[in-house]
Symmetry: C3
Subunit: 430 residues, 3 copies
């Protein structure tokens, strides 16, 4: 199957599940991912302390609806899991319309769309519905039924790791807690699954060699999931050289790269470099402490080199956090473009080595090594690349830096470096 | 009385006095200021060594005029003290017009205005007059009378100090040596008097608590007065964290902030920040070693964190150093605007604290502390401010920095910090 | 003789010589230069190891031509030495046109010009000719004769040194290996000769005093000559404070200054400063590892403070490396302008001292030292210069920095510094 269909098919499969920060919707989602990669699924019990937080009760829903006095369901969780406010407590009562309305959420400015609401850390309940439907509700006695459970259980997340030649690690993290919405964040889940599979296919069996870096993929509920992983893996954090929080990859907006809090991490150099190379329109955003799990990775006491890559950022498209963020809103082509961008980033990370010129005093004589064939005055790009690599390989510049400074494509710079290495004019710096 | 009238009234009262770098005009000026604040008036004897300089003889004038052969006074110091070149020596002689003219100063390009001239450090004499009047002078014998004295006495300056919680000091300095001119510098004298009174009213009695910083106001003759204070107070200079030379505050031009020599002192950050906040048009000027007493405060061996705040800078309006810089040239509204700007600067200095996030690993759970009430996707400015303060409070950013980086108003940032302090998520750094 | 004619006359004299990286053409060129300055001529034997390279066999040519079957010379080295590819091996054979053409070079886009080609490090031969002439060649048997020698001999270069007050050195280097082309590089050779003579006339005899810096001029074959000098003079390199590779000085394009690899060497400050001062249009180019001998001086293991000054850069004018780069292509006026620019650079280097203010606390009283004569409000540029020099002379700024920061011409700043030195308010820092 072509990669765009593969990504899209997984999204279609996962779309109906009722995901939240805990519960069976998440568990089923991770099980499906396990069909692609040997994902490790971790269960962290309710009540576990994770930094300033603790793992909340597990939430599951059997049924939820509102029925009018004629027995007609005016709202039904089974038709769309967005109808129920996430983490709603169990309810079974009859309410007049004015009392009911205190628990109803709608979007007057988009009267046909159902909003997405949660009440994770406050015991409450509510329903979300299209504003048009809400206006149709008449004075009546409404029966409200929520058959949910909030009980000791666990928070569930997935982790996939590929060991590289060194402990230095590349981290990808995506959130898995949103129910039936496509761009936010089945797009992230599905693209990351296929990216992990891509690496697994390349490096997954013992005979296939190892990548330069280790790669770690996290499929975690937003906020509490990232915090849980960070709290339980503090010893691993120093290995992270390069990280990306990913989400919102299927709409037709341009890519938006949001810098790490450090602002000059390797990721802050590489991602814009690859976007430039691929001649995409994109924006680079300064770090802000609001958004997705970069909030946690980039908290001041961790300050990890983790940026964020999305298309149109959270909150900047009207369909955001509504039922209009559905499978029609995104496209296989855009998902594939995102997938290819991540592949390009990984390839660049893997290839972006740093060398030391072993003949640093004056140029070496390239002609006698068969590397330099120009007649005077007619130098070619490849030969210029040889000169740039030699001149800049003083221990401070990697190949991306040299490509940036010279304006010569990375692949040409990389080939030149490789050829110079072969004739012992360079050595690799680790 | 409204503050604009209060400032303007003091200017009217002080306008006629014959100020110079020494003498009774300065002494009387400081006595009037003493009606507002408990000003300390310091007398430094003639001949006192102050760095490379020494305090000059004290100059006082009883009378000065030029009389034609018919006994008519063609120039009369009693009508306008600008007529007499400051520090003119005593004279009593009869001169022909061509000899007299060597001692007359006028402004051909502004024939109705009297220029302002001084001869502090060269024993000489002269008269300033409107060019129109000078052209009317006919060949004649002119009697020149200057009843001045240049004798051992003292240089007089005023100092007002309010003790804060720490020795760290905010310095305001303004020059008091100019005779009857309004913008330069009765505007500075009068606004600084009212600013000192504002602080005195807030913190002046023992029961009222102390400001974060100590505040020092200097009312000094330009150059020699600033040098005298600096030479006699070297032990205090290390306490100065923040300083402003002030002048030219009443014309209708935009504010001009001239940076300290360091260029990145706290004052260089705070003053533009407050001007931005107040949505004023303003210019920021690089440091130059010419101007007012910032020349001395920012000499290379002292290099104090002292900037300068004026409206239209010295020399950049035609009325500068002429009789046209009078009470009509300035307005109570512009003086009040300047006063309010200084109040804003002081409030910002006082409120601009630096905190340390005590829960720096991941975000703290704000909801359980009652600070975070947003439903997902609908964050408010105040809640964003909480996140910004937490994320940036790593010991390097103060609240002004956080406001600048976040684009959130200082007051909102400040409130967020205060609330986070109350729930023990921050501690203040000193 | 006026300097423009002097420069141009030397170029005319040197134009016909058959220069290459070794051989008698270079030797004769250096002998002619010796008529102007006591140039040291150094011979380095074939086979000498110089870093990664070795000195090649010496190449000389007695005759070279191609004759058709009627005995007509269709190409003749004696008419233009560009006809023969430099370092062509001896040949004496008869070839059909199609075989001959493999050794012929022409420029279809400029059919009347002869290109310039070399084959220094690959044993081969070839002829260059106008494309129009090449098209006229008919099917025939062609006799090819190259009476050249490639034998043990030496590489020849010239060096001229003037000792200054310190060992700190200013280096000028120009390449001497190009045959009959005017801009590249008889312009560099001739302007450098006259610049060396200018310094020799000033400082050449013992009674005339010494310049602040030592000056070294190198007249070297490109690449191998620069490498040879560097390899044999490593002990001297630490003395170089300031260096320029020079070439292409006679066309009518603007000056182009190419920065040293360091990017912030003194030369990178001074050359643009002097160009600004002379109100020339010019470009500043970032360092690249391609071009002239800055490639060697700025190799990463040497990283010398050496920039490059040309008019239109190499390869950016169509006449570059062709017979159209002849004496009509350049002009005496442009050569003189270049000469004067170098003189201005040297004068600025010599005058660009750094001082320490000996009275750094507040301003010194300039009036009592006779340096300050302004009446208040009417300061002159010279007096501003006094204040700038005093304020900035804290050990970090030299006079060029002060001129840049103040916007006051260098000569005024320099005069102010000199006057302040005379009254003991400054001391010179070495």
């Amino acid at each position: 199957m072509a990669i765009n269909n593969e990504i899209f098919s997984l999204m279609k499969l996962l779309f109906p599940f009722n995901r939240s920060i805990t519960g069976n919707g998440v568990r089923k989602t991770l099980q499906e991912i396990k069909n692609y990669i040997p994902l490790q699924i971790i269960e962290v019990p309710t009540g576990t302390k994770v930094f300033d937080w603790e793992v909340p009760p597990e939430w599951n829903v059997e049924d939820a609806y509102i029925e009018n006095s004629r027995g007609e369901k005016v709202v039904d969780f089974k038709k769309n899991n967005l109808h129920l406010v996430s983490y709603s407590v169990p309810v079974n009562k009859i309410l007049r319309l004015n009392e009911l309305k205190k628990h109803l959420f709608s979007l007057p400015e988009h009267p046909g769309w159902i909003p997405y609401r949660t009440t994770y850390y406050k015991r409450d309940w509510g329903f979300c519905m299209a504003h048009n439907r809400l206006l149709e509700l008449k004075e009546d006695n409404y029966k409200v039924v929520i058959k949910s459970s909030l009980e000791n259980g666990s928070l569930t997340y997935g982790e996939f790791f590929i060991k590289g030649k060194t402990q230095k690690e590349v981290l990808f993290s995506t959130h898995i807690c949103h129910p039936s919405m496509a761009n936010d964040n089945l797009s992230g889940i599905s693209v990351m699954t296929m990216l992990a599979k891509y690496l697994y296919d390349l490096y997954g069996n013992d005979s296939s060699g190892r990548p330069q870096y280790s790669y770690r993929f996290l499929f975690v509920p937003a906020t509490i999931g990232a915090i849980t992983w960070l709290a339980q893996n503090e010893d691993k954090l120093a290995n992270i050289e390069f990280g990306l929080v990913t989400s919102l990859l299927g709409d037709d907006g341009n890519f938006n790269y949001k810098k790490s809090r450090r602002g000059n991490s390797p990721v802050d150099k590489i991602v814009p470099f690859v976007l430039e190379k691929k001649k995409k329109k994109f924006e680079v955003l300064e770090f802000t402490p609001y958004g997705y799990d970069e909030r946690q990775f980039c908290s001041p006491g961790l300050n990890l080199p983790v940026g964020r890559l999305t298309r149109t950022p959270n909150g900047e498209f009207p369909e955001y956090h509504t039922s209009a963020d559905n499978l029609e809103f995104i496209s296989p082509e855009k998902l594939e473009e995102a997938f290819n961008l991540f592949v390009g980033i990984i390839k660049t990370i893997e290839a972006n080595k740093k060398y030391l010129n072993l003949n640093p005093k004056c140029e070496p004589q390239l002609g006698k090594r068969g590397l330099y064939k120009s007649v005077a005055g007619n130098i070619k790009e490849y030969e210029l690349a040889l000169l740039w690599v030699l001149n800049m390989s003083d221990g401070t510049n990697d190949l991306v830096d040299i490509s940036n400074k010279s304006g010569i494509p990375f692949d040409v710079i990389s080939k030149a470096a490789s050829d110079l290495l072969n004739v012992n004019l360079l050595k690799e710096l680790k």
